[in-house]
Symmetry: C2
Subunit: 339 residues, 2 copies
DNA sequence: GTGAAAGCGCTAACAT
DNA sequence: ATGTTAGCGCTTTCAC
């Protein structure tokens, strides 16, 4: 029951010419006479002819489609990135296929395969949290698939990267906490496996050292979601009495911590100053508003797509890998400073 | 510099058999002898053979790809829907192409065209706000393109729909405001053109009537974004003294209103109770937590994809249009009720 | 200025 | 049990 959209062959038959003539006429090939060209074009327009992108891709070996692999769409930072990618892609005549890995390496692997099966021209990837083995990405890369990583990169692959300066952002925000008078700052951090988390933790540690504060391993907890905050609430509350600041690896976690602490009677920022990372929209909704650093998701998405396009233009592999580092701008808000 | 992934022809040549034998062997056709089958399969595996989805689609006239047209990805409700769609699609071997219209009818039109050019098997659509003329959707539908609308439907097209019971949700929440003692409720509503907005406004009006309150046209303002709230703050503040409740068409607008009113010294909910619509994550972050109704984006996405799959199975048009109405569950929170 | 033919990768009737 | 052929829709070289 499929529509059977009219093809070049249909037009050729209907007009008593050959398919090649139709093809040429439609793309204003100089060989075709003015008369036939117009005749064919107007007919094509009348029957609402549209070239079959699939056939075009098969023929030309270029699909004008790029694949995105992302942990999850429902996440302000990630959806902003997708939006940036999509806007650039759209303006350049590219379509995007989006797959979410849901932080599952198996699914990530299958997504990759499916996108390659669809012969995408290139890949934009943000790795899943639990990706222990990037083997599938490595072999795809070795197989000449143009790739650009964003946010969560793959260290083993030497290709373009679009990342936030997580180290510096964390260093800045931790410095800011210290400037606000914090002496004992808890870090709610993420998996050791995640580059972004590690960078942030190192930035935190560096800032402490910058201010001659000895980092205390007891003040680093692996806790990077609101659920984790609930789960580790005892541990956090036990520490709460002896700390005066918290730097959380992301805003949701920071917000969950604020809510937990407020519930127990702590005043934010008077008793404990709290800072997050990312500048999620919720950061200006929580009371007190959350000090954080802004991550430019939309722009990062745009940049990633642009890098991929550049890479597609040139002969793929033989260009040096570019790294676009986005500075995270500090947003000082009420959760760290008195009104 | 493209990789040239190995094709069935390559395998055939390498093994001294015909392409059709390879094709058959790979799909366990009974005609092929155990021996050749295994020989071919293991070779294919060794060279990492992967079928070209483009060729398959061109041949079979089925792309196993569906198109999504959505106003914007960066929006919790919409990204949840996409996630639901993607999960079902993925599990059934479908890929999705996502296009955002950015509420621009022109772009929406081009998106539609591009997806059709790519020969998607079907379309999942949430119309743009400013779509005055749904002509392009109508002609695509008449041209047999399977379509399912979600959230913002197209009244002119008789096909499957997945929607929230906006009327009932708004009626419930307005009733709740009245139960909380509100006598004079301001409605911050949306464009007259949007079905969802209209339904919500009618639900609001109905609830007032249910309680013998005469609806006051002066208490309905077109204001459906935080930016609108800023823009119309004078108007809202002028009314603030004489109202005791607000029902906003969505949560962001409700939150912006709360923030505006709090800034001016109003106590929520004591002076003015406020309710939203959608149960955005921010609803439990704002203080006081926001009373709202829950919209099940993820489930709606799943359902929409399922309807489309059903539609693809059958002979397209000749089945009655289904409507899946999701009830919006009332979430009573602090913004309408004393602690 | 236009047509015929081959081929992108794959499948399926139709041979053998 | 395997090969040949044609064709999905399109482009492009090569003829005429």
């Amino acid at each position: 029951m499929k529509p059977h959209l009219t093809s070049i062959n249909d037009i050729a038959k209907a007009m008593g010419v050959s398919p090649s003539t139709v093809s040429r006429a439609l793309k204003d090939h100089p060989d075709i006479s003015e008369a036939t060209r117009e005749r064919i074009k107007s007919f094509a327009h009348k029957v609402n002819y549209r070239p079959n992108a699939l056939a075009l891709s098969l023929k030309s070996q270029v699909s004008h489609t790029i694949g995105i692999i992302i942990p999850e769409i429902v996440h302000h930072f990630f959806s902003s990135i997708i939006s940036g990618i999509e806007d650039i892609a759209y303006s350049k005549g590219y379509r995007v296929m989006i797959c979410q890995s849901n932080e599952d390496p198996e699914r990530e692997k299958m997504n990759l395969q499916a996108l390659i099966d669809h012969r995408v021209d290139g890949l934009l990837v943000c790795m899943s949290k639990n990706s222990n083995d990037p083997g599938h990405f490595i072999s795809a890369f070795n197989n000449q698939t143009p790739m650009v990583f964003f946010d969560r990169i793959c260290n083993e692959i030497d290709t373009d990267r679009v990342i936030t300066d997580d180290f510096n952002g964390a260093r800045q925000i931790t410095s800011h906490l210290i400037d606000c008078g914090c002496k004992s700052i808890l870090h709610l951090g993420t998996h050791p496996g995640l580059n972004v988390g590690q960078e942030r933790q190192q930035g935190y540690t560096q800032a402490l050292k910058d201010h001659n504060i000895e980092p205390d391993p007891g003040l680093i907890i692996q806790c990077d979601t609101p659920a984790d905050v609930i789960h580790k609430k005892e541990q956090i509350l036990n520490l709460a009495g002896s700390i005066d600041g918290i730097f959380a690896v992301n805003d949701f976690t920071a917000i969950a911590a604020i809510q937990l602490l407020q519930l127990k009677g702590y005043k934010i920022p008077e008793d404990i100053a709290v800072a997050g990372f990312g500048d999620d929209p919720a950061a200006v909704i929580i009371h007190p508003t959350l000090t954080t650093v802004e991550q430019q998701g939309y722009q990062m998405g745009q940049e990633a797509m642009q890098l991929l396009l550049d890479r597609l233009k040139k002969s793929s592999q033989d260009q040096a890998a570019q790294v676009k580092l986005f500075q995270a701008e500090l947003k000082k808000r009420a959760s760290t400073m008195g009104a």
